[in-house]
Symmetry: C2
Subunit: 322 residues, 2 copies
């Protein structure tokens, strides 16, 4: 009988975001042994990006490769497709069309490469090493510049027939509602509950209420952080911005719960720094819209992992799952 | 090596509806060898129902049991819980509270009994023997008196952490919209796209438009069948009733697609007899609300199985899956 010495095996986890890309060497216990980053948006051509990534990562492989075996590369990227190893039509990345990213990485690094979308990778990281440890059914929602999601049912990420499942940020919460700045859809969750959506709501509301503290800021300084500052100082309009956002989020969460009946919903991303201002109304409107059999069962939980680490950890874990 | 002779094994499939219960003896090939039914609503006490069911089914067991082995009982029932073997708070059944139905059946019939909700059972039947054969990711929507659903991802029914996943009829399609007659929720899919919802829409619209043919019927005769008759005769109001219903259905379907990215959505139940009057607008509004990566990919398919058979077949197949 030959046992594999897990402590000698590591994987590369890479989290590609619109602005930054973060990477790390991760072991089986979910420890990031070394990490680094580079700008995503500095590379117009994906080939140049991969070259630059290789330059940065190669010394890590040399160093750790002396004692450990690199089992492969896991990548979380916007519109990353698990089945095809592609990145497809990602609106926030500089590279357009369908990119055979996994194949390109394998050629460059001479290692197998597994891809999924960034929110899926983060959900996977939370399941193995974070707030969703031991859970088999949960939904992860990332509330950042956009709204992303990863859905786990019976311990497995839901990919759908084409690998694109879990675009909950683009589900419609208000038919005929606010037009999305990029997709053009009307009334999507992302149009309200992302940082971008919150800024839009805040700008509308401060125009209606001249007495709001929000009017002390320049137009370009209105964002979820400044709204939070005003809310903390007791500005009722800033508080209302979050209440409205929380209502829309809660209504959406109720629909998600009636779909997959998760044990918990994990929330993640910059927007949740607003805490109870947004979470209390979200909880209220979620419960109100649920059938009785679902009420007071679903936990709303904040992510335990550092945002970048969650995706790096989840991406690296893909290597061993496959 | 001992091979099991599958042809000698059968299971009992039981489909419990609010009005009728149907049952059948099913073999591994999905052939219903013999079937029967009894009224559900004639039994105020669940014990009496199970006694009556036993009286009806016992002769079948005697007859088929001479040559074949009964491997167990599979039950599809409203609010049937796969994990717990219970039927819980089913609004359309005469028996209230939490009923340990599986246990009671096992005691009475001396066979293992597996339970799931009726729409899940029908979805499972379609996957094994009907229009979803070979599909690993699909959603089944039953449009009848109510709106039920079964969700399959990666070849498995989604049960959720508590066994109650897949209540898509109760997801909100119009926040603050029509109040549901039984749940009290506002703007659920069921409030619009069920036969009950269609009748409500039709009654409202015929009151607004005295010239509509719908006004030739008595109030109690307004249902999806009579609306369909008027639509076939070219009544624009009746056609609008279905268009509006299809719009709400399509908006909901778009959200479901962005959740689990199914290969197809299977439609099932009396309401789909309205055919293109409802399906064309449903398709239109589904596509309009989808992100581009999902567009023109998802098939809308009608069930291939007889409605009762689908659930009996699916329920019986649960026996062998477990």
């Amino acid at each position: 009988m030959s046992l594999i010495d897990l402590s000698k095996h590591v994987a590369l986890g890479i989290d590609i975001g619109g602005t930054n890309t973060k990477f790390g060497v991760v072991n089986h216990r979910g420890e990031v042994l070394e990490k680094g980053n580079l700008r995503t948006d500095a590379y117009e051509k994906v080939e140049d990006f991969i070259d630059a990534l290789y330059q940065k990562i190669h010394p890590l492989i040399e160093r750790h490769g002396k004692e450990k075996n690199f089992d492969g590369i896991g990548v979380g990227a916007p519109n990353g497709n698990y089945y095809k190893g592609t990145i497809e039509q990602a609106p926030n990345l500089p590279w357009k069309g369908v990119i055979p990213f996994g194949e390109m990485m394998t050629t460059k690094f001479n290692m197998p490469c597994t891809i999924t979308n960034d929110a899926n990778a983060a959900a996977f990281g939370e399941m193995l090493f974070g707030a969703a440890r031991g859970m088999k059914d949960f939904i992860m929602i990332t509330l950042g510049t956009g709204v992303g999601s990863g859905i786990v049912a019976s311990g497995k990420l839901i990919y759908g027939h084409d690998g694109f499942a879990g675009e909950l940020g683009h589900t419609i919460v208000k038919p005929g509602g606010r037009k999305h700045w990029s997709t053009g859809s009307e009334g999507s969750l992302e149009a309200y509950a992302s940082a971008t959506g919150i800024a839009i709501t805040a700008k509308k509301m401060r125009a209606e209420f001249p007495e709001s503290m929000l009017n002390q800021y320049l137009e370009e300084s209105i964002n979820s952080k400044t709204v939070h500052e005003c809310a903390l100082k007791g500005d009722p309009i800033a508080i209302e911005v979050f209440r409205y956002t929380g209502q829309k989020l809660g209504e959406a969460l109720a629909n998600f719960v009636m779909f997959s009946s998760p044990e918990a919903i994990l929330l993640f991303g910059g927007v949740i720094k607003a805490g109870d201002f947004i979470i209390k109304p979200a909880k209220l409107y979620m419960e109100r819209n649920l059938l009785p059999i679902f009420r007071n069962k679903v936990k709303l939980v904040f992510s335990e992992l550092d945002e970048a680490d969650a995706a790096i950890l989840g991406a690296s874990a893909l290597v061993w799952e496959k």
